[in-house]
């Protein structure tokens, strides 16, 4: 029961946090503060003079710059577009309008209306596709990382200071230091040069014409490169942690005890030691959930993967407020949820940390 209370309490706390996040996001996108004319000291001709300066803080990116500079667009069209996007309203009105649309209820069903993007698509529909792609990518990455890193970590700990262990440790240091965007570049070039794998996108041009089993194969082939790139860093650090944890556990007294009472070695290792060593890593899952949507932005950019990161990046550059806000709130929600999950998992794996202590933290 305490579980439920803690979860509810944390989620309630999350609401004002998310509201604040959305306000910050909207402010960054749309801030337009006109302070009027003020006397400001300025350096001129070697002396300080007081100048009348118009102080106006405004997002320097004009979302309608393209229309403004297009000679085919008449001023009337420009104005109507400005009105359609709500850009003629004051800042707070724009925000409240955005917020109220988010909680739109049709026929008793919550249907979030996240507005339209600049290119006219429904943001919610687009977001579902993009976030889905990113989730697909990152879930595969997490799954494979854990499946590969844990056995490698166990191997490294059991063969402590052997040549293979040293090699794995070296590879782990290299993998942790390699910047994902550089790895992505290098691997993409290699793949293009030797025609190993398709680079960019999630599907081939002829995807729609293929039978379903080839469609799956097509998507899988496109996923290989981003998955490999994103796995490298996580693989290295998880292997290192698993190895370190297991080394610690193997020195513990109850392991010595298990050996002393004549338990076969494989039972000592796999039944007692490994299970204990994995426990602290489980909390990492929560943090991985938190980074699920926003962690792969650079790689998505380089490999032109149609995910949420790439979508958001392009929207930020155009100050496409509806898109930026939607993806910001979505990934912030996931981040908060991930942190709650990490805390809860912590109590599951480590009974010394009590739920009530976490509850006190809020």
């Amino acid at each position: 029961m305490l579980w439920l209370i803690v979860i509810c309490k944390r989620l309630l706390w999350a609401l004002p946090t998310l509201l604040a996040v959305s306000i910050i996001g909207f402010t960054l996108m749309r801030y337009d503060v006109d302070l009027g004319v003020w006397p400001v000291p300025a350096l001129k001709n070697g002396g300080v003079v007081i100048e009348q300066t118009h102080i106006h803080f405004k997002n320097p990116i004009d979302p309608l710059a393209e229309l403004k500079n297009n000679p085919q667009i008449t001023p009337a069209v420009y104005e109507s577009e400005k009105k359609r996007l709500g850009l003629d309203r004051p800042f707070h009105e724009q925000y409240l309008r955005w917020l109220s649309h988010l909680f739109e209820v049709n026929d008793g069903v919550w249907q979030p209306n996240m507005g339209k993007s600049f290119s006219g698509e429904d943001v919610f529909t687009q977001l579902k596709i993009r976030a889905g792609n990113t989730l697909l990518l990152n879930c595969i990455v997490i799954l494979l990382t854990w499946l590969i890193a844990l056995p490698l970590g166990v191997f490294g700990a059991l063969r402590w200071r052997s040549t293979t262990d040293r090699l794995l440790t070296l590879l782990a240091s290299v993998g942790m230091a390699a910047p994902s965007f550089v790895v992505a570049l290098v691997l993409a070039v290699v793949c293009v040069k030797f025609r190993l794998l398709p680079v960019g996108g999630l599907t081939s041009i002829n995807h729609g014409l293929l039978p379903w089993w080839q469609q799956i194969g097509d998507v899988a082939a496109h996923l290989v490169l981003p998955v490999v790139v994103l796995m490298i860093g996580g693989l290295a650090s998880l292997q290192r942690q698993m190895r370190g944890n297991l080394l610690d556990v193997l020195q513990a007294e109850y392991v010595r005890m298990a050996r002393a009472k004549g338990l076969p070695e494989h039972k000592v290792v796999y039944k007692h030691a490994v299970r204990t060593a994995i426990n602290p890593l489980v909390t990492l899952l929560g943090y991985e959930l938190a980074a699920l949507l926003s962690g792969s932005l650079l790689v998505e950019m380089i490999l032109n993967y149609p995910g949420l990161g790439q979508y958001t990046y392009q929207a930020v550059l155009q100050t496409d407020t509806n898109v930026v806000m939607a993806s910001l709130v979505l990934s912030a929600t996931l981040l908060v949820a991930g942190n709650v999950m990490a805390d809860l998992l912590l109590t599951v794996v480590d009974p010394r940390i009590s739920l009530s202590a976490i509850e006190q933290r809020g």
């Binding site: 004002p16 946090t17 998310l18 604040a20 996040v21 910050i24 996001g25 960054l28 996108m29 997002n59 320097p60 990116i61 240091s173 290299v174 942790m176 230091a177 390699a178 910047p179 965007f181 550089v182 570049l185 290098v186 993409a188 070039v189 293009v192 040069k193 680079v199 370190g244 980074a291 949507l293 926003s294 962690g295 932005l297 650079l298 950019m301 380089i302 990161g309 958001t312 990046y313 930020v316 550059l317 100050t319 930026v324 993806s327 910001l328 990934s331 912030a332 981040l335 908060v336 809020g362």
Partner: protein
């Protein structure tokens, strides 16, 4: 990092003094190799103007995308040993395949000269000079250049720009830390020391910042830097954006440490003596977090270097024509560029080396201060 805060061995640093600590850390061969790599990198960027044969903005459009200039030690005719020389490069464009290639003009070997005069630069910020460590005389022959790592698509010397770019990429992390860490220390210190509603409120605020995915916040902040700012202003604003991302998480850890430190008796004593709270926080409480801060700094620098290069790589950080390792890689985003000129990936290799060195050194420092997690 979080689990480290409780167990960091504060006494370790004070026992042997700084020199003893350094000696112990460097007894690990990997750590001392890492330190040497970093010393060489920082010395190279400090002497960038002297070591680089060309200036950061220097360019020759007729030699765009030229491969690394080979340095020859034997004469063309006889193969006898001679003073190192380079051959002038000539660019040929093939109008049917729309591709270009370079050939060497073997008739005009150009000897490499040391301490040649070239572009003027301030040496160590002290005085202006135009002496460069090495270079070639490019007045007599067209295409006579020495590009150790080739040129980019604008015909700029990559080797020289790597050195100048390092001045930004390798320092921006430290400068951001200098902004983020004092802020986080003070914020976490105040929050933890006062407790109660002050603590709740302050931690809520930092929680809000931490609830925004850091890369999203970073690109949003960087995107709204006006295009009109000068390059030094942009540098400062990038530093502030990076610092804004980092301080919140750090302040939470400090706050946790302060919560336990403030219960010690000497803090009570200071309070009983009537010392103002801010003085207690800065003079008695925060110094106790010292070794954790040292470890956190060494472990955070690579993250900041990566963030800056990622940001510049996206085109939102340091802007052309100023060089930084990230924005030099931006050209490599076009895969065809890299296919024809793989030497454009050189900055990526340097980022990797610098981050690796910082990681190895950071691990060694942590192992020293906190043997438990070793």
């Amino acid at each position: 990092m979080a689990d480290l805060s409780n167990s960091v061995n504060t006494a370790a640093l004070q026992q042997g003094g700084w020199l003893g600590a350094l000696k112990r850390i460097l007894s690990d061969p990997a750590a001392s190799a890492a330190l040497w790599v970093l010393i060489i990198l920082y010395a190279a960027i400090a002497l960038a103007g002297f070591l680089a044969p060309y200036g950061q903005y220097w360019r020759d459009r007729t030699l765009a995308g030229a491969p690394p200039t080979p340095v020859y030690m034997r004469t063309v005719e006889t193969g006898a040993l001679t003073w190192p020389y380079v051959l002038p490069q000539q660019r040929h464009f093939n109008p049917t395949t729309l591709s270009y290639h370079y050939s060497e003009d073997t008739a005009h070997p150009i000897p490499i000269r040391f301490f040649v005069r070239g572009d003027e630069y301030p040496l160590l910020g002290l005085f202006n000079t135009n002496v460069h460590l090495f270079g070639v005389d490019n007045t007599k022959q067209d295409g006579a250049q020495i590009n150790l790592l080739g040129t980019d698509m604008n015909g700029r010397d990559i080797f020289s720009r790597l050195l100048y770019g390092g001045q930004i990429s390798l320092t921006i992390g430290f400068i951001s830390l200098l902004v983020a860490f004092p802020l986080g220390l003070l914020y976490g210190g105040i929050s933890g020391y006062f407790g109660g509603w002050v603590d709740t409120l302050m931690m809520r605020v930092s929680e809000v910042l931490m609830s925004i995915p850091s890369l999203y916040l970073l690109i949003t902040l960087a995107a709204i830097i006006p295009a009109s700012v000068s390059s030094s202003q942009r540098f400062a604003l990038v530093v502030v954006s990076l610092a804004l991302i980092g301080w919140a998480g750090f302040s939470r850890i400090i706050r946790g440490m302060v919560l336990s430190i403030k219960q010690q008796e000497y803090v009570d004593a200071a309070r009983a003596l009537g010392k103002p709270s801010l003085g207690i926080i800065t003079q008695h409480v925060l110094p106790q977090t010292f070794s954790f801060v040292v470890v956190a700094i060494t472990l955070s620098v690579p993250g900041y270097i990566l963030m800056e290069s990622g940001l510049s790589f996206l085109g939102l950080g340091i802007q052309q024509p100023d060089a930084s390792w990230g924005n030099m890689l931006k050209e490599a985003q076009t895969l065809t560029n890299v296919l024809y000129a793989p030497w454009m990936l050189a900055p990526g290799a340097l980022i990797f080396v610098a981050v690796l060195a910082f990681n190895v050194l950071g691990d060694a420092v942590r192992d020293y201060l906190d043997p438990k997690t070793a």
